[in-house]
Symmetry: C2
Subunit: 247 residues, 2 copies
DNA sequence: GCCTCCGGGATTGTAGACAATCTTCAATTG
DNA sequence: CAATTGAAGATTGTCTACAATCCCGGAGGC
């Protein structure tokens, strides 16, 4: 069976979802910001039906929250949320390493190396946004070694939420950007461990990997039973809307 | 903060999604079946925009696959897919046990006991569908012990796909239904291990848990590198549409 | 006889408009 | 003066209709 090369013009739903996703991840839209449908349609030059479908997609991805009869807002992440994202992400990576290392299909490694190369390029040209994207692609390609589509999809979705958090959080961004060279070096060691085919070594590298230290610190406060909020902490409150007027 | 008692009339999107989800899980719609929008709208008595939004939601849940310009069909699960669902599910359960056992909030146990009670009721009245639902709710409530919303959501989504598979697969259903009493007994032991607060014991119970044996058998053929299909095995082929006329 | 190339019908993709609901804010009342 | 109520504006939820695209069958040519 040849690879599926069918071309297909992307629907407005897909394009709109992509555009809004970029707005959110770039920090153009901040958590809590409300998205008024008519405003967005005029901005994107489309009508409301495809926009609403796109909003549903992004809601399922966890980037937006919809309040019935009240519109959608950009997801607000509590410390507890960050804790959840962090722990789940670690579990995914662990599973991926166990399934995917040592690597069976050498072609999969090409994707990892490519991402690392893009990280190096971005570091050279001091392109912070590109560096972050490449870094996520690197980790995603590591998870891809497992050849487990659902695992990769789930990991990708979680990464989106993590990027949402980083986009809104100056400190998280700074941490990720600081000492690009050291950051890249860690990724090199990770790749080396993967190439050596030693799962334990890879897991060890991941354990003390970059953003980890920072994230652990941030999320420590959210651990434990007492940190669990009473209400639905994913449903943004009304004040979240009031406080943020859509651009 | 008092519990959120806001009433809100469900939108047609939510209702439609629920209705179609039920059709899929009940086996009323079978994998590969095509969903023609206008036909479904007239059946549900709604118009196309809300229906399309509902379809997007179900697509994100993995129950439907959308082929651009060609409509939507019920997801067809390959052995590889079942393998993925099975492995991910195991990982989720393991993570949940590690985080949630011993149980901190006794109230969480009530949910588990309730589900077990419903399983017993269903067994008594020989209500197979109810038994399956209760069984899934039991496992979901076990995962809920972790107090990890994203984990529970992910697990719920995966369970939907597993139920899709079981709805279409006579053998899987039979396995699940056979010896209801023994099945319930396994769940009782699981609950007992949870109540004892011993994570290892719970994991051991899960390891040789019911459907496991069957699923492992089914999915063994899908493991290993050679089982990975070349193309996109989640994208149904054109013939899938031709072969199935919408009810 | 098989392949290619059209139309016709069916279906999806999108637009614009109406109805229902919510929020806001000012007027009223205690 | 604080609390409540009601009306106007804004926004979401839904519907009908039109445009674009695809599938399928038949006619024509090699």
């Amino acid at each position: 069976m040849p690879p599926d090369r069918r071309i297909q013009q992307p629907s407005l739903v897909r394009l709109a979802a992509e555009a809004i996703r970029d707005m959110v991840l770039s920090g153009d839209l901040r958590p809590g910001d409300r998205l008024v449908e008519e405003r967005v349609t005029s901005e994107l030059g489309i009508s409301r039906p495809p926009l609403r479908e796109a909003l549903r997609v992004l809601e399922q991805e966890g980037l937006l929250v919809s309040l019935p009869r009240r519109g959608v807002i950009v997801t607000t992440l509590s410390p507890r949320d960050v804790y959840e994202i962090f722990t789940l992400r670690t579990t995914y990576e662990k599973m991926a390493i166990e399934l995917g290392v040592p690597v069976r299909d050498p072609q999969l490694l090409g994707r990892v190396r490519l991402a690392l190369g893009q990280m190096e390029d971005a570091a050279k040209s001091q392109d912070g946004a590109h560096f972050v994207r490449s870094s996520f692609e690197f980790h995603l390609s590591i998870v891809g070694l497992a050849g487990h589509r659902r695992l990769e999809d789930a990991y990708r979705g979680l990464s989106l939420q993590l990027r949402l958090y980083m986009a809104a959080n100056t400190r998280a961004r700074a941490e990720h950007n600081e000492s690009l060279e050291a950051n890249i070096e860690r990724h090199r060691r990770l790749l080396a461990a993967v190439e050596k085919g030693d799962p334990e070594a890879v897991l060890a590298e991941l354990a003390n990997h970059g953003a980890r230290t920072f994230l652990e610190e941030v999320t420590n406060q959210a651990q434990g039973p007492e940190a669990q909020q009473q209400g639905d902490d994913r449903r943004a409150t009304l004040s979240d809307i009031r406080d943020h007027i859509s651009r």
